[in-house]
Symmetry: C2
Subunit: 404 residues, 2 copies
């Protein structure tokens, strides 16, 4: 995403020569990954490896009630590691909470930050890590690459397999005064270690399984088509698409740990890809729609994704055919045919789940008038910059009207 932000600032400078130079450099940063059933038990050794004497443990009341915080404390104690627990995480973490957390961290002389939870918990931990090591307030770091000094070692355990915050260089914190969600983006926010234990994930509802897998699928597809996709992100995208296509249906039907585990792997692959390659116009629209109508990504993707893919087809024929080949598990007569039949198959796939396929199903008729201003916002979303085909607000509006 640094790539993306470099990219964005170069585009804004309208300096095509610099842009070409810049595109020749690509970056790929991910945490060390420890994946598998029971991998939570490695948390203590991981902390020791990063020199932990006293771990700063971040979580929330839901995870605590499920018993995972207690479990982690016992694992740390068994390795002779001291800990201090910071439980005050709320959904959509706010600036002052992060700043209070940093104060608490410094006062207690902790040396490694460990978070167990969903996106809010992990983003809170990232925010605390920034302030504790770089000082100031969190607003100082809004945007890309504003963090100068190294963060304390971070070890994250995800409980949702959706947000990708345990893999990515992103952190979202609400600025209360301005009432905006700040994006803080820097490679130093990639945690040192992500521990993904499928046994923690198996309590998800069918609805949540479907929506988070579709979210990962959209990440994988848009990252594959991104203008800054690289040979390091592209194999990860294709692997994620393959795994989700083969495993979402059995996961929903049987809830088997085996299928859930494969979806969790797919989400990791997709996060590796999008964290480093960025996304596209579909996510730009999803962000605007989600902000306005308070809906999650997973809800919007089945409505928008294939229409945005058709919009991008001509500019990405060969890559769209790669996606088609993975979906269909074979090549057809031409790239165009493989691409198009792949997109049709993707539409059938979405239709086989209990999800909305039209915008009118989730947005009131009376709200339709807001689409134009939404699309005008969406063209400025960072994701729109890496879309393979330039998209003006009129193009985005045409897409929204088509799927209405």
């Amino acid at each position: 995403m640094d790539n993306l932000l470099d990219f964005s600032s170069r585009l804004q400078n309208d300096d095509q020569r610099s842009l070409n130079t810049m595109l020749e450099i690509t970056k790929f940063a991910i945490p060390e990954i420890i994946f598998g059933r029971g991998s939570i038990n490695r948390a203590g050794q991981c902390a020791l490896r990063h020199g932990a004497k006293k771990v700063f443990l971040v979580s929330d009341s839901g995870i605590e009630q499920a018993g995972w915080v207690q479990r982690l404390m016992e694992i740390l104690e068994a390795e002779g590691i001291d800990w201090i627990y910071y439980p005050r995480v709320t959904p959509n973490p706010r600036d002052f909470e992060v700043e209070q957390g940093a104060e608490f961290y410094l006062k207690n002389g902790a040396d490694v930050i460990m978070a167990i939870g969903g996106g809010s918990v992990m983003d809170t931990a990232k925010g605390i890590a920034i302030i504790a090591s770089n000082g100031g307030v969190i607003r100082d770091y809004e945007g890309a690459n504003r963090v100068q000094r190294p963060l304390p070692p971070m070890i994250f355990l995800t409980t949702t397999a959706g947000s990708g915050s345990d893999i990515s260089q992103f952190c979202i914190i609400t600025d209360v005064k301005r009432a905006v969600k700040m994006s803080i983006i820097t490679r130093s926010q990639v945690p040192n270690i992500a521990i993904i234990d499928p046994l923690i994930l198996r309590t998800k509802s069918k609805k949540l399984i479907t929506l988070s897998a579709i979210d990962a699928l959209a990440h994988a597809i848009e990252a594959y088509l991104s203008r800054i996709a690289s040979p390091f992100t592209m194999p990860q995208s294709l692997k994620a698409i393959d795994l989700i296509f083969r495993n979402l249906t059995p996961a929903v039907q049987t809830g088997s740990l085996d299928s859930l585990e494969k979806l969790s792997i797919a989400s990791i692959n997709a996060s590796m890809a999008f964290s480093n390659a960025g996304l596209g116009a579909e996510h730009a629209l999803a962000h605007s729609l989600g902000g306005q109508f308070d809906m999650s990504h997973g809800v919007v993707h089945p409505i928008l994704l294939t229409t945005v893919m058709r919009y991008n087809l001509e500019s990405s024929l060969s890559r769209m055919a790669d996606i088609g080949r993975v979906i269909l598990d074979r090549k057809l007569g031409s790239e165009r045919e493989t691409a198009l039949v792949g997109i049709e198959k993707l539409e059938e796939f979405f239709a086989s789940f209990d999800v909305s396929l039209k915008l009118s199903a989730i947005v009131e008729d009376s709200e339709r008038q807001h689409l134009e201003s939404l699309c005008k916002m969406a063209v400025n979303d960072a994701c729109n910059l890496t879309n393979p085909r330039p998209a003006a607000w009129q193009d985005l509006l045409a897409i929204c009207e088509e799927v209405w």
Copy 2:
């Protein structure tokens, strides 16, 4: 490779139940990667990001004469970073050299280690990092996971794109008294950042281009078939195979920067895979042969690899077909057919380069008697443990006789 070593110790304990449990946990650790023409210019910012005030710069006389060390010093100075230069690297670095280097590091109060060079330079830097932060002598750390305390930040720039030391968790140092090469293996040896600048790589000879690409191809194939290959290593293997098949011929024929760059990407993909998945019987044999007859890996692979693949065919039919599909760029009627025709195509590929295809071409007739003892050594090589089909020394000897 930690996986591999866990695996190895479990196998030695002959505890099948623990083995099964262990196999459910997989790890994937790679450095942050910055790839592209001119990426050397990012070295200063990378050092700052890791808190550098004084960089410990490791290289050798060849790289120095080529001007790269001077270039790096200027880049650091431009960012206001002090440096101290440690030039005393020799091929196949020895224990006392590493220990002297650590003394020099500590005496000079450096805080980040930067290495520019091939495998010897980077392995020397890793050895210095271990002693400087963990004390003792390098022999104390032989084997897997013997390093307890975190290492200083390491930023590596490879000049060969062959060894993979800039990506991997391996370090090879010679124990002078025992006259053996020690393998030191630990995740803490994965550098923080690997900067791969194809402009540094473009001075390689055709022979070196061919041999290092074939080495990377063998890494990719054996890692894909490994018993501990994971969904994180497998896409990287297939990408490497694809890139080498499509780009080695043009790279040798035209020497174009574009093809060389793609081979360099392939080597990174292959290193990500083998560092985390381990290798197989072909590398076990290559290590023994290489040790005895002082030949490089790249020379042995075209002789052994396809015969070892045929030996493994029945135990890995589906994965061997995946490899065939990438090589042929299509599936044939059955998995077996795709796999076998893929192996034939690989033989044709090797035969199209100026390389030996029979063992008798590189080993004297009078040395043939040593093959049996070589194979008895090779079965105990760590690589043999992750081969998809168990291989006794008699099996390895039959392979050697077949390719004689």
